[in-house]
Structure formats: C-alpha cells, structure tokens
Symmetry: C2
Subunit: 216 residues, 2 copies
C-alpha cells in the first residue's frame, strides 16, 4: 500500500510557493538530506532550518545569505536542466544513497505556471531515467509516480487525478469513475476515492495526484 | 503578429487564484461576454463587476449571492466536463458569436495543481475541437495556442516556454535556444525571447507561455 509518509532519503525545496501544509513541514524537518534550490534557502532559514547543500546560480539570493553559506553553495552551469533536476543529480552523485532512494520535492509548484508544468512532468522522467521514487507535496495535495499494479491509501471523497501519456492499458478499482487510457491530460482529472484505498493497474508509468482534504 | 490584447469575445473567470495583474483586470472590464465559474463570482462581485452568466453547481456560493443572482445561474449536470469546459460550451451555445471567437480564461491556475494542469491541457483541446482562439492569462504570464507559422510579440529577456505533444516538426526563430520536437513536456521550458518578437513554425498545435516580466 502506497501511503503518504514524512521521511525521505532526499528532500529538495524549490523556489515556488513555500509549503505551509503540516505534512510538508514535517517532511522538511525529517529529511535525511536537504537541498535548497537557490532563493528557496531564504524561506528555509526563516524557519530555522539549514540545508545541507544549496544548488543554483545564486542570482536571487541576498549577499548576506550567500556570504554566510558560501561553503555549501554549489553553482551548476548547465542550460538543459532546471534547478530541480540539478539538485536531483547532485544528490545522486554526492550522497551515499542505496537501492532506489526516495525523493520528496517541496515548493515545486505555484508562481510561474510553466515551471509548475515542467516540474510535474519531470517526476515521471526521474522515475523512469534516474531510478528514484519521486513524490511532490504541495499545499493542496501530492503527486506520486507508479506503474503496474499499485494500491494507494486514500479516504472517502479524497479528490484524485491520474495523469499519463502513453499507457496502452490502465484501469482502476475504488475510484468513483473507472479510468481508461486517456489521450489527453485533462481526461484523468476530477476523480474521487470511494473508500480508504484505490488500486491502479497499468502497462506504463503514470502520475497520481491526491488532495490533502476531502471535497467540501 | 500575435500580441497580448485586452478585448475578447468571451471572458471566463474560473475559481483558481483571482487575477491581480493589471492586464487581467482590464480584460475582465473589457469583456463582451463574461461568465463566472461557481464561487469565482464572489471575488468578481467584490470588484463591482457583474457576470452575464454564472455556471456551476452553486455548492460553494453563499446563499445570499445565490439568491440575488438566481436569474443568471446555470447549473449544468455533467460529469465528463469541468466548469471551464461547461462555461465554454455554454458560451458557444448561447451567445451570438461569429467566425472563430476569442476566449480568455482568467483564474484558471493556482490552488489545486491537478486543476491547473487539466485547464492548461484543455486550451489545446478547445483550439482543436471547439474552433475558438483560447488565451489564458495568469498573474505570472499567459498561454496562447497556435499552429503553423506564427510570430509572437515579445520583449528582450521575456521568459518563454513551449509545450507540445505530437508535433513531428517544430522550429523557432528569435528564441535563445532553438526548439525541436520535444518528447517530454519539461523540455520546452526555460527559453527566452532575444528581441521584440519570435516566430514558431510547426506541423501541429502547440502552447506558448510568455511571462509578463523579463527575467530579473
């Protein structure tokens, strides 16, 4: 059963909307390794939490912070990858992680919508290409990636959306509306958990979004 | 040349983050036809703007508002479509629109990320299936849909992202990095306008996101 948890091998805080959800705060404090992307470090320091590493060009970080944390600042000059990917690759290269490590992304949505869209799409890329188990927690819900047959912990009236591109077969049990191999991203939105779990089975990777709160 | 404008045949205000950008406010006030989705009407009334129609189930609207605006409330019982699509179809069925009408979507991002993702994906669907010209304006930038050869008004250092699925050929002029037929959504993000316009040519529909402000 895939349940929401608060302990991850690596937690990466991006510079979108700072997480205010209780679960997100617990995830930050429980991180085995914590990386801040660029100016996200400013919010983090206000919470009295220090990251292990700061990844970014430092352009948007105050001179004071930059000077104080120079020793953990890692500038990665690379145009193809965004900060989220740079931080992920840094973790895989420098931390002593074994097996298939769990990564949690916070602050990766909100503000510019192209960043939000790109970051969500990257979760599937990381899952397929980097051999990690990625989760993204936002102030409204969380995204997980899976494939094959997986059962997800839920609660009645939890709002659920499934995003996939390229599944030839995908089906569900325990959701209000049975899912099918959607051709368009919007077709898997606005579903709902009936009880305390639901199961998805597919022939390829898919993203699941579950809200923190039931529908009002 | 495709330029950002403030006059649209139909403006649809969804219940995401209420627009605070100056352009968005002008678009609201200049709307030929204005539809509010469900509880978005509450924010609208606070601005002293009345919609022509309210589409939604009314669950999240206060009893006072509902009673006062009962005459323009349209409940559409339909599970496949979300409120944005219901409002769009309502406009096409009930308003006297000629040719290829222009639609502007406001408040369609922010809050739940699955709604944001679904609403953005719907723009391409509307463009292809409903024969309208959709634009979505947010507090950070705007999305437009096009295909074939189109020149977009821009400014130096405007941040630009291109989203497409299924183009066999797509190329650009006037962007910092030349685009190509991306396989994944994140690959078209983080581009930048070099001058006061850029041109895209493709064999299929694509979404363009342009920020309101240049990169800091």
């Amino acid at each position: 059963m895939k349940e929401q948890k608060t302990e991850y091998d690596v937690v990466i805080l991006a510079a979108g909307d700072f997480p205010t959800d209780v679960t997100a705060m617990r995830i930050l404090r429980n991180a085995k390794h914590l990386i801040a992307c660029d100016r996200a470090v400013e919010d983090l320091l206000e919470m009295d939490i220090e990251p292990e590493v700061i990844v970014g060009d430092g352009d948007s970080v105050s001179a004071t912070t930059k000077a104080k944390y120079q020793h953990i600042f890692h500038t990665i000059e690379e145009q193809e990858d965004n900060d989220l990917t740079k931080a992920t690759k840094y973790a895989l290269q420098h931390f002593n992680l074994s097996g298939t490590p769990t990564f949690c992304y916070l602050g990766a949505t909100g503000k510019r919508e192209d960043h939000t869209l790109g970051n969500i799409a990257l979760l599937i890329h990381y899952y397929k290409q980097l051999n990690i188990v990625p989760t993204m927690v936002t102030n409204y819900g969380w995204f997980t990636v899976s494939q094959g047959k997986t059962t997800f912990a839920a609660f009645p009236k939890q709002q659920v959306s499934i995003f996939q591109i390229g599944c030839k077969r995908i089906e569900s049990e325990g959701l209000k509306w049975n899912i099918y191999p959607f051709n368009e991203l919007w077709q898997g939105t606005l579903n709902e958990a009936v009880g305390n779990s639901f199961t998805i089975d597919s022939d390829s990777a898919y993203l699941v979004y579950q809200t923190h709160k039931p529908k009002e």
